[in-house]
Structures are given as C-alpha cells and as structure tokens.
Amino acid sequence: MSYPDVLFYVFAALAAVSALVVVFARNVVYAAFSLLFTFLGVAGIYVLLHADFLAVAQIMIYIGGILVLLIFGVMLTTRVTNVDLPGGVLKTMPATIVSGILLGTLLRLVTRASWFVEPELPSPEGTTAAIGDRLVTTHLLPFEVAGILLLVTIMGAALIARTNGRRRDA
C-alpha cells in the first residue's frame, strides 16, 4: 500500500467511525462533537482526491461555521444537553433488513460499475483558479441563481423566526 492509500483509509475510518457515533450517541453534545471528525475525515478525502478548494471550503464552512453554530445551539438550549434521544424503539428488524439490502446493492454498484474516469487529473498546483474561472464563465448562471436562492432562504428564515409582535393562535 502506498502512502496516499494509507492516508485514505485513515481518513475514511475517521469519517465512518465518527459518523456512527453521531448516529448512535445518546447525548446530543457528543453527537455534535463527533460530527466534527466526520467533516474532518471527509475534508481529508477531498485533499487526497486533488480537490483542495473543496477541502478548504469544507473545513471553513462546515467545521468553522455550521458546526460551531450547531454546538452553540445545542449548548445554549439547556434542555437539550441531557435529554436522552429516543433510539431503538422504532421497528428495528425491518429497518435493518432494508438498510442491509440497500447497503449491499450500493456497495456492489460502487465496486462494479464502470465509472467515468476523467482522462487527466487536475494539476497539483490547485483547483482554485480553475473553479473561479468556471464560476464566471460556464457556470455563471447556476452561481448567480444560487445567490438568489440563498437570499430567499435568509429572508424566509427571518420571516419564520420573527415574532409578529402580536401573536394569535388559531
């Protein structure tokens, strides 16, 4: 096994194990912290795939922004920190069978399908310049529309969260 391969398995294991903790942790705070390692592992895999811009964005946005907010949210909501999440009470057997079949199928797909292979790898100098170039040329429209989409989302969040001054319940 070459050096990058070892690194890949390390990051993959980090992401997978911490993702399991996120799902199975009974304490919301543990789950939130564990998510940090999932994001980190995924960022590591991005680096190994030459997607350096994506890796940095992953760390800055997901770990630096979203996750910190999430943990703050969890901690500030005092009631949540010690609540046991309901787990295992749902129909375990059918869920296990369905998930097992799904996992088996997807694993087979991933390993057997003849995936499209990009003829040339991105240059090791980095992808940031190329991404920047695409965002204002070929992908201009989706980029701009995504801007409007985010604007709508922010306005909507404000609209939903704001109290009206006077509340009526119907």
């Binding site: 199928t105 087979r108 797909l109 057997r112 399908a113 003849s114 995936w115 499209f116 292979v117 990009e118 040329t137 070929t138 992908h139 201009l140 429209l141 989706p142 529309v145 995504a146 409007i148 989409l149 604007l151 709508v152 989302t153 306005m155 909507g156 609209l159 939903i160 009206n164 001054g165 509340r167 009526r168 319940d169 119907a170």
Partner: protein, 502 residues
C-alpha cells in the same frame, strides 16, 4: 462555445426581469415598511414587464449560458404559463381575506411569489442537471416559506413543516441520483448524457446499467414529488389544505406545470429515440421507461381519485383531484410523441382555467363563511347564483364533461394515448374519470339539491370584483370547450424541444 455570456443575457430578458422584480420588491419592502400592497404592485408590474419581454426573446432552439438553459418553443410555452399564473395569483392575493390577517408581512409574501416564479421559469428551460437542481430548490424553498406564511394559523405551520421534511428528503434522493448519473457519464448536460447513452457504451450493460437505473429512479422520485405523483404524493393533501389558498392554487397549477416541464425534458432528451416514426417514442437504453411512467400514471390517477371520494374539506378534495390530474397528465409523457406532449400542454391550459377558477371560488367562499367544509356548501347554488353556477362549471370542467374546456383537454389527451400501443392506459383513465365524477357531483348535489344544515337560505352577497372574476373564469372554460382550434395549433407548435443533434 458558440454563444457568449452577453448574447445569453440578451436571450434571457424575461427571466432577468423576474429576478430583478424579486430584488426590486425586496428593496421596496425595506423602503416602504408596512405598505405591503405597494410591494405587490411592484411584483405585478415586474411580471407584466417579463410577459411583455417574452415575445422578443427568440424561441430557438438554442442553448444559452453554456448549455445550462435551453431556449425552445417548449420552454417558451411554460414560461408564458408560469408568468401568467403568477400574475393571476398576485391578483388573487390582493383579494384574499385570509392573507389580510398577516397584512404587516404581506410585502415579503409578494417577494417570495416573485422568487418562486423566477425559479419556475428556470425549471422550464433547465437543460443541465445542476441547473435543474438549483431551479427546483429555488422553487421548493420559496414554496415552503409561502406555505407557512400565515404562521399564526396552526395548520399552515404544520403544512410548511411537512413540506420542508418531504422536500428535503426528496431533493436529497434526487441529488444522489444525479451524482450517480454524473459519475457514470462524466457530464451533467442532458444532451451530452444522451450522446453517451446513444453510443451504446458499456453503460448500457451490467452493473453500470443498474447504477444508471437507480440514478434515474432517484431523480424520478424528486421530480415525482414536484408533480405530486404517487407514491411521492404524501405531502400534497396536508400542504394544500394548510397553505393559504392562493399558494395552494399556485402550487397546484404553476409548480406542477414546471415539474412536468422538467420531467418531459429529462426523459425526452435523455432516453427517447427521436427518430422513431410510430405514435410513441420508444426509449432506447434497455429500460422501457414508457412502461415505468405508465405504471406511475395509473397509480397516481387511481389513488388520487379514490381518496378524493372520502374528502369533506374542499381544499383537501381539490388536492387529491390535482394528484389525479397529474396522473392523467403523465399519460402524455408515457406516449411522449409530439401529439402526446402537445396534449399535455393543451391539458395544462384547460387545467389553468378550471383549477384556478375552482380554487378562487373556494377562497371567496372561505373568506365569506369561514369554512371549506362540503356541508357548508349546502344550498350554495341558490344562495349565490352566479358564483354557484361558476363553481358548477369549474367542477364539470374538472370532471371532463362537455361542453367545457376540461372535456376538450381530456379528449385530446386520451386520443393521443389511444393512438399509441398504450390503449389500456386510456381505458384506465376513462374509468378513473367516472370515479372522479362521483366526488365532483357530490359537491354539486350539496350545492343545488340539499337544504343548508342550519336552514339559513339568506343570499350570500359577494363583492362585484369577486363575481366579475368568476365570470372571467367561466368564459374561457366554456369558450375553449367549443372553440379550441388556436390552442391546439399553439400547443402543437410548442412541442419543439432542443434535442440532441439539433
């Protein structure tokens, strides 16, 4: 790259006008707080400008923004449809009493209507999976907010929450499906994907093929959710019942049309062989997608119609009836020939008049008597003659009986299906129509043959504006039931789509 960004923008003026309308409405909302109706006027003006710009944007077929958007008669049709529906909904919103309770925030409501309309025009033209996804998200998020707009009403908040949860799951599934397709094809461009498939690559066999199947089925789940096809319809009744009725009407008409635009483009461009001469476009990539869609269509119309029979809330009944109509419309996609798609477009025109009319009456009545329950419609025909006759005509049109527009829509749609090998599908659809007659007629019976429960037979007086609006919707329902030649011509000219090799 034959087209440049500046030439793309020049061909993109109506959409640009809508985007600017959204921005202008937002600025208006900041500048003149509490004068929400002014924002509504800005949105209305913006829609009018976009509509006025439509004839000046070329109908192609060509690709703009590096193939992200297709300009073709097909997308032009849906853009007209969406913008006109948007205008009607804004006008409805001005009249709605339901929204008046949230009057201080009404300005934002109009902003989201603008964003929603913009998103739907993008859906009409999107020819790249990335663009399709972003357009659907823009439409989705705007609609979640609008469904929960009357947040002081419990069921409206509930509707919004359910809508978000279902929407998040289905868009997650769709995104996963798109990633599988991208992984196999190395492209998100529908036309390029078609080319890869047509080359009969290794993709059409073995596990790669299975992967593609799963990818397409997942994307179908996302699109099926948008058009509320069974089994992705569970959100529809709750959202339609809980949302403000103007938004329900918007979702049932324009959002569904935009969803169909994407669905038709997706399957026609990617999977159907353009050069078959029969009355049905066969899919060439090993799967009989026609049959898959046919099963979906039968399930959708049957479930929609049979559950509608049990509904006592008219908004909920119309929700199930709109699911059933999605089933009928899917038949046109099954056939997917030019005549099939033209029939879908024509059906949408009729659906616009009959469904918006029906929702409008339900809204006007709810504003007046505060109820959407079927029992409160007892004796309605006598208490409010003009509006009652209007409602009766809309319901007859929804059933598809002559001499209404709904009959013509169904006739042309069914005959397109009869001409294809899917004759059995038309038989199922006709049987379904019979079922639908039962629940539409139930409302009619309550309106004309039954006395009100509380014995109150005093006339219900509607404002003149309401009566005029109802009459304005009656006219096309009857007119297009008798004289529909120009509409048929227009829809037949609108099926031309940007196809591979063009």
């Amino acid at each position: 790259m034959p087209e440049t960004i500046s030439s793309s923008i020049a061909n993109f003026r109506p959409e640009l006008a809508l985007a600017l309308t959204f921005i202008a409405a937002m600025i208006m909302e900041f500048a003149a707080r509490g004068k929400g109706r002014l924002t509504g006027a800005v949105v209305l003006a913006g829609f009018a400008v976009a509509l006025a710009l439509m004839p000046f944007s070329p109908a192609g077929p060509e690709r703009i923004f590096s193939g992200m958007i297709a300009l073709d008669p097909f997308s032009v049709f849906f853009k007209y449809f969406v913008i006109v529906t948007g205008i009607v909904i804004v006008l409805f919103s001005f009249q709605s009493q339901e929204l008046r309770r949230d009057a201080p925030r009404i300005g934002e409501y109009f902003c989201f209507i603008a964003a929603l309309t913009f998103g739907m025009t993008l859906m009409a033209g999107a020819a790249n999976l990335l663009m399709i996804y972003i357009a659907i998200e823009l439409v989705g998020i705007s609609s979640y907010i609008l469904a929960g707009f009357t947040k002081s009403v419990r069921r409206s908040s509930e509707a919004a929450l359910k809508y978000v949860l279902y929407g998040a799951v289905s868009s997650g599934l769709m995104l996963y499906g798109m990633s599988l397709i991208f992984g196999l094809m190395g492209s998100l461009d529908l036309v390029r994907i078609h080319d890869v498939l047509a080359r009969g690559h290794a993709i059409t066999t073995g596990w790669s093929f299975a992967t593609m199947m799963i990818g397409v089925v997942l994307i179908l789940a996302g699109l099926g959710y948008k058009i509320s096809a069974v089994p992705f319809h569970f959100w529809t009744p709750d959202v339609y019942e809980g949302a403000p009725i103007t938004i329900t009407a918007f979702l049932a008409v324009a959002s569904k049309a935009a969803g169909f635009a994407v669905l038709i483009r997706f399957f026609t461009v990617m999977f159907f062989d353009m050069y078959t001469t029969a009355n049905v476009r066969a899919s060439f990539s090993g799967v009989n997608w026609n049959l898959v869609l046919a099963v979906l269509s039968v399930a959708t119309m049957t479930v929609g119609n049979f559950i509608a029979v049990w509904q006592d809330n008219l908004k909920r009944m119309l929700a199930y009836s709109s699911i059933a109509h999605a089933g009928y419309l899917l038949m046109g996609v099954v056939v997917s020939s030019d005549s099939g798609i033209a029939a879908v477009l024509l059906y949408f025109i009729m659906y616009f008049f009959m469904n918006l009319g029906a929702f409008y009456v339900v809204m006007a009545v709810a504003d007046k008597i505060g109820s959407e329950h079927i029992d409160d419609y007892r004796g309605f025909g006598k208490r409010a003659p003009t509006v009652g006759v209007g409602f009766a005509i809309f319901l007859i049109s929804l059933t598809g009986l002559p001499p209404t527009g709904g009959f013509v829509g169904k006739l042309i749609l069914f005959s397109a299906v009869v001409d294809s090998p899917f004759l059995w599908l038309a038989v199922v659809a006709v049987l379904n129509t019979v079922v639908s007659l039962y629940y539409y007629a139930r409302v009619l019976r309550n309106m004309y043959l039954r006395e009100p429960l509380d014995g109150d037979i005093s006339p219900i007086r509607f404002r003149p504006a309401v009566v005029v609006t109802v009459v304005l919707f009656i006219i096309p329902n009857i007119l297009f039931g008798l004289y529909f030649e120009p509409l048929v011509k227009w829809t037949q000219a609108s099926v031309a789509m940007l196809l591979p090799g063009a």
